[in-house]
């Protein structure tokens, strides 16, 4: 494992400065900025406060892991960042644009162009081939057939699945499925790659393979945010955020984190 400190990450001061002024559009370099982000679920009178005000700033090219106990709000935060869900309160700026004020159609466009989402359960279309699954975001982007196919093939090559393009998900191993999902997430060249427990359904060897893919992507400059339970998976990232009870408990360089958990 390389020393993380050779990668430049945003400093605590920089982040605090960006988050401080409510309503201010952050500079270009900040891919994600949230201010006081809240998400509550109304469970028949009882309100579950999944996120109680998250201030988060992530700069381009950062590779961030989000950790925290079960129920701390990790998935909720990822779904908000991924525009799959909308907050009850707070601001969410993506690439300098206020996502929390967007219409459904604009959100669909953002999901299509700016976000690549990788799920724990892969979420592939079971009847479609790997190739078609990867083409899907391009279908909704209105990319014509030939170019679509070429780009989907490229994306699959990138995750070493060039030989399995015409297989359906049930003809692929878990690791291969997840790589199809990663190819799909990358095919439209999103500004962030989000992964909610991408290795949660994989054994440790396969998990390492997937982490290698993420590592390479991060090296190539892809902004990556990944949720995980496992410290040794989180240790691949260059910055680790810990959520507790719907708020950020800590946010630090990997080196600080690994020292803390004793890796």
């Amino acid at each position: 494992m390389r020393n993380t400190d050779e990668y430049p990450i945003s400093t605590t001061e920089e982040r605090e400065a960006v988050v401080a002024t409510a309503g201010a559009a952050p500079e270009e370099d900040w891919v994600i900025v949230t201010r006081g982000l809240k998400r509550e679920y109304d469970m028949g009178g009882e309100v579950v406060r999944a996120l109680r005000g998250v201030d988060l700033a992530i700069r381009r090219n950062e590779y961030v892991a989000i950790m925290g106990p079960s129920g701390s709000g990790k998935s909720t935060l990822m779904n908000l960042i991924g525009c799959l869900d909308t907050p009850n309160d707070g601001e969410y700026w993506l690439n300098g644009q206020l996502v929390s004020a967007m219409s459904d159609d604009q959100l669909a466009r953002v999901r299509n162009k700016e976000i690549g989402f990788v799920f724990q359960t892969f979420n592939l279309l079971p009847r479609a081939t790997a190739l078609h699954n990867v083409e899907l975001p391009l279908v909704y982007a209105g990319v014509p057939g030939e170019e679509r196919r070429r780009r989907a093939e490229e994306a699959l090559e990138r995750v070493q699945l060039g030989a399995r393009m015409l297989h359906k998900p049930n003809e692929l191993s878990g690791g291969q499925r997840q790589r199809v999902a990663i190819a799909r997430a990358l095919v439209n060249r999103p500004s962030i790659l989000l992964a909610d427990e991408p290795t949660g359904n994989l054994d440790s060897t396969t998990s390492e393979e997937i982490m290698k893919v993420f590592e390479e992507l991060a090296d190539q400059g892809q902004t990556v945010i990944m949720v995980t339970h496992e410290p040794d998976i989180a240790a691949h990232a260059r910055r680790v955020i810990v959520l507790r009870d719907g708020v950020i408990a800590s946010d630090d360089k990997r080196s600080a984190f690994t020292q803390k958990v004793g890796l």
Binding site: D105, P137, V139, A141, N188
Partner: protein, 415 residues
Amino acid sequence: MTMRHTDVVASALEQIRANKLRSFFTLLGIIVSVTFLVAVVAIIQGMNAYVRENLASAVIGSNAFQVRRFPIQVGLIDDEIFRRYARRPKITPSDARAVRAAIPDAQAVSLQSGWPTPTSDVVWREREQDDIPVFGVTADYQVVQDYKFSGGRPLSDLDVREKRPVAIVGADVADKLFEGVDPVGKDMRIGGSLFTVVGVVAKKGRVLGQSFDAFVMIPITQFEMMYGRRSTNTISVKMREAKDVAGAMQRAEEAMRIAHRLRPSQENDFSVETADALIAFWEQLTKVLFSVIPAVVAIGVVVGGIVIMNIMLMAVTERTREIGIRKAVGATARDIQKQFLAESIALAAMGGMIGVAVGWLFAMGIAAISPLPARVTLWSILLAVGLGAGVGVLFGVYPASRAAKLDPITALRAE
């Protein structure tokens, strides 16, 4: 930045293909209704064409018209009008003479017994043919009908005037009753009375399964002695050229009014009609059928549409997760709506097309094994496919908008 139309259609067809059997059963209602529509319309249209092209002139004669007591449409009128017709006087031989005198350029003016035609058993030696229609005619009737004779001679004016017991027979009677023997000159019994066969009418063929060759024809004077004077005697007038028919009809009308001593204020107490009246009568009949078909088809199509809607609602539920995935990678509500709508339209239109094909085969099959002719028309095909697509839109909108409204994260969590 939305889905391309080709992709929308491709994905709809892919879904239908992936669920072939279910798609087929979904379509059954539409297929059956459209099959019915196409087949029945084809047969009615075929019969219309047949009546127009063959039957009408076969019954009335070409370049001919009739002076009748009752109009041809008598079958479709109400009791009130019927009672008025019933008060009309019978058509008499003197009426026929008056018409003849008024139209000296007519090729033929005949008087013949009208509907209903009596039938009698016809006997020659020990052979017998039961229930053969017997017509009483004047000699000119054979000209009106363009009869060709395969043997012997036609009935003559003298036969009629002298009330001679002579007869001409249709080809069927000649073949079956006399079987190989030349009937000309033979004596046969018609309903017990003795008649000498003087001629055999050449084969005319069948119309709508009805033979035009099974008849015997005798002088109307003889006929009236046997069966009494028919209340439906009819005068037929044949002109040499079609262009003369209209003028001749007018002269016939005037002659009849004079013969019946009608004052100018009085209505005609007879009807003057061409084959057009028969065609009109037929078309009136089929119009009744045409007005029933839409109702039957509409019921079938609505039921078919509801089935499609149900299946699509089921598909939305079943494919909630798929919808979630599609939304997660950037599908808009419109994209999802389009995809599901395209699916139901494609389904229903496909049902329409299958229905057209099956209906076509059906119509052709019926035409092949029965005397009913069939003619598949473009409008019924367009109507059927359009109907299918319309049903797809109508019953597809609701399931499609349900799918479109799904929230991405809830859809993704669905199991």
